[in-house]
């Protein structure tokens, strides 16, 4: 039986690797996901074949509880709320790791007779799992707007405090490693790591959130691998480590797309300087307002229009309205394209998912490098709820916190129309010079109703 289980584990992780390879190509992605899912089912069945398994009812209860919560959540979540859903799923994974480590500690009476490496792996898993659980919950709270999206923190005191928490966490873990058997020590590890997770994510501003979720995802993977090492379970080692490694690469890719380094993001610099910058910003300048009729007129008689969607479009659920408007424009002979910034929205690829949901033709979706040269020839750039990814300060103002981040060169277009709820600065809390540009006119209101109004005006044009 042990051999059979080992064999099935090999099948399972072969399926994981095959599935993951599929996930990296647009055509094979859906099948890849399915294959990985089958791999997971194989791994679970194999584990249940372990001789002498007891507590069947409780096992069934746990699996049932998880499915009852997980299935409807996954089925019902709106495409726009996807980032926080992923954060939440990631968090519970981390929570499971932390709880398992706790039980391992209790079960072995403080690792009394376990080899040292088991204690080290379990303690590592406990720390990372707890950080990931609480960090993901905070990320969820911020994205769901239960918590304010702007960075919350102590500014100067933050880093020493985080360092102190890390030292406290490691000290508790170290005490256990050197023979301390009191359960309070492990609870201490979990608690300090929890506060650390909260403190690390709280000061991180909105634009960095995708990178943070990806990083927490990689960390949960690593902690699962550590748990696998402690329990001598190859399926967990392989699956956890693959996620840890691929997640790290993915995190790096995302950070690069924003021209930010991972340590800088974790240190929470983003937005920390925003208040100072905003103070010296163009507060005395005025913005020009426009109407839906006017916007429709401008775009209806343009030859090229580029639509720049951002998180505002996601919040307003405006993707279907945008598709309809783009269709009308195309019917009038206007060339319409959508410029997708790699980190527009709250996750990379967020806008692609939404526009694909609304059946926007794939050929109309252009990536940043492809479209940036086109803005100069464009009559109207329509910015729908995108902010930081269009801020020219990223090119021109070294004092700006987003200086150096690649942006969409929206300001090169002949005219710019910005749909926005209000003049509040974006999620990252940075003033956007684009709005004060004389080529720019603002159309205030909910993105969906604004787009719908423009569409109505286009119909009677």
């Amino acid at each position: 039986m042990i051999e059979l289980i080992a064999l099935l584990y090999i099948v399972a992780f072969a399926l994981f690797i095959h599935g993951l390879t599929g996930l990296t190509g647009p055509r094979t992605a859906a099948r890849g996901n399915l294959i990985a899912g089958v791999g997971m089912a194989v791994a679970i069945v194999a584990t249940l074949l372990t001789p002498g398994t007891s507590n069947w009812l409780l096992i069934a209860l746990g699996l049932l509880l998880g499915s009852v919560v997980g299935v409807p959540a996954a089925k019902r979540v709106k495409m726009t709320a996807m980032p926080q859903m992923v954060a939440l799923f990631n968090g519970v994974g981390g929570g499971a790791v932390a709880l398992v480590s706790w039980v391992e500690f209790r079960d072995s009476h403080g690792f009394a007779s376990a080899p040292t490496y088991v204690a080290i792996a379990s303690l590592f898993a406990a720390i990372i799992g707890s950080v990931s659980f609480w960090g993901s919950l905070i990320a969820f709270g911020k994205l769901q707007e239960v918590l304010p999206g702007r960075p919350i923190g102590l500014r100067r005191g933050q880093q020493p405090l985080n360092l102190l928490l890390l030292v406290a966490t490691v000290a508790c873990a170290g005490a256990i490693g050197t023979g301390q058997r009191a359960e309070m020590m492990l609870v201490g590890v979990l608690l300090f790591a929890a506060v650390l997770g909260v403190m690390v994510v709280l000061p991180i501003g909105g634009a960095d959130m995708p990178v943070v979720i990806s990083l927490l995802n990689a960390l949960t993977g690593l902690s699962a691998a550590a748990t696998g090492l402690a329990l001598d379970n190859t399926a967990m080692i392989v699956a956890g480590m693959i996620v840890g490694a691929s997640g790290t690469i993915l995190t790096n890719l995302m950070a690069k797309a924003m021209n930010r380094s991972i340590p800088a993001i974790v240190a929470g610099g983003f937005g920390g300087t925003a208040a100072v910058y905003a103070g010296s910003g163009p507060a005395d300048q005025t913005v020009r307002q426009t109407s839906a009729a006017d916007a429709a007129m401008q775009m209806g008689y343009a030859s090229q229009v580029i639509i720049v969607p951002g998180y505002g479009m996601a919040v307003a659920q405006a993707q279907h309205a945008v598709r309809e408007m783009a269709g009308l424009l195309a019917g009038r002979g206007v060339q319409v394209r959508h410029a997708i910034h790699p980190v527009a929205g709250r996750m990379p690829g967020h806008m692609n998912v939404l526009l694909a949901e609304a059946d926007v033709p794939y050929e109309q979706l252009k990536e940043m490098d492809e479209i940036n040269g086109e803005f100069g020839r464009t009559d109207v750039a329509l910015v729908i709820g995108a902010n930081d990814v269009t801020n020219p300060a990223a090119r021109s103002n070294p004092a700006s916190p987003i200086y150096g981040m690649p942006i969409l060169d929206v300001d090169q277009a002949k005219s710019v129309i910005v749909l926005k709820r209000s003049m509040n600065p974006g999620f990252a809390g940075i003033e956007n010079e684009l709005y004060f540009n004389e080529k720019t006119s603002m159309l205030f209101g909910d993105a969906k109703s604004s787009v719908a109004e423009i569409t109505e005006e286009l119909k009677v044009l």
């Binding site: 499915s67 994974g93 079960d107 693959i242 019917g331 949901e357």
Partner: protein, 105 residues
């Protein structure tokens, strides 16, 4: 000896993970993150193994049932959500195209 074999597996798996994610189009970053996210729900197995042993006390069992539930949410939710996301990229037969909706009244 088990430790060394496991560490070897760990290192190799790490390189596989690096190798797989070399070139990924931006479009797929979100589904990929969500898909790998589902895979680390594998920690569910740890819950199954520990709860399956009969050495646990009542408090352990409570913790483990929660852990299994958490893991199951991670796995089931993760795969389903990824599937839904990827479904958006598929061409839907009969779906309105840009041209169909552009007919003016």
């Amino acid at each position: 000896m088990t430790l060394l074999a496991n560490v070897a597996i760990l290192v190799l798996a790490g390189f596989v993970g690096f190798a797989v994610i070399s070139k990924v189009p931006n479009t797929l970053h979100t589904p990929l993150m969500s898909g790998t996210n589902a895979i680390h729900g594998i920690v569910l197995l740890a819950g199954l193994v520990l709860l399956g042993r009969s050495t646990t006390d009542a408090f352990d069992r409570v913790l483990l049932v929660i852990a299994i539930a958490f893991g199951a949410i991670n796995v089931v939710g993760g795969f389903l959500v990824t599937d839904r996301m990827l479904g958006m990229f598929k061409k839907k037969p009969g779906a309105p195209t840009g041209k169909a909706v552009s007919a003016r009244d």
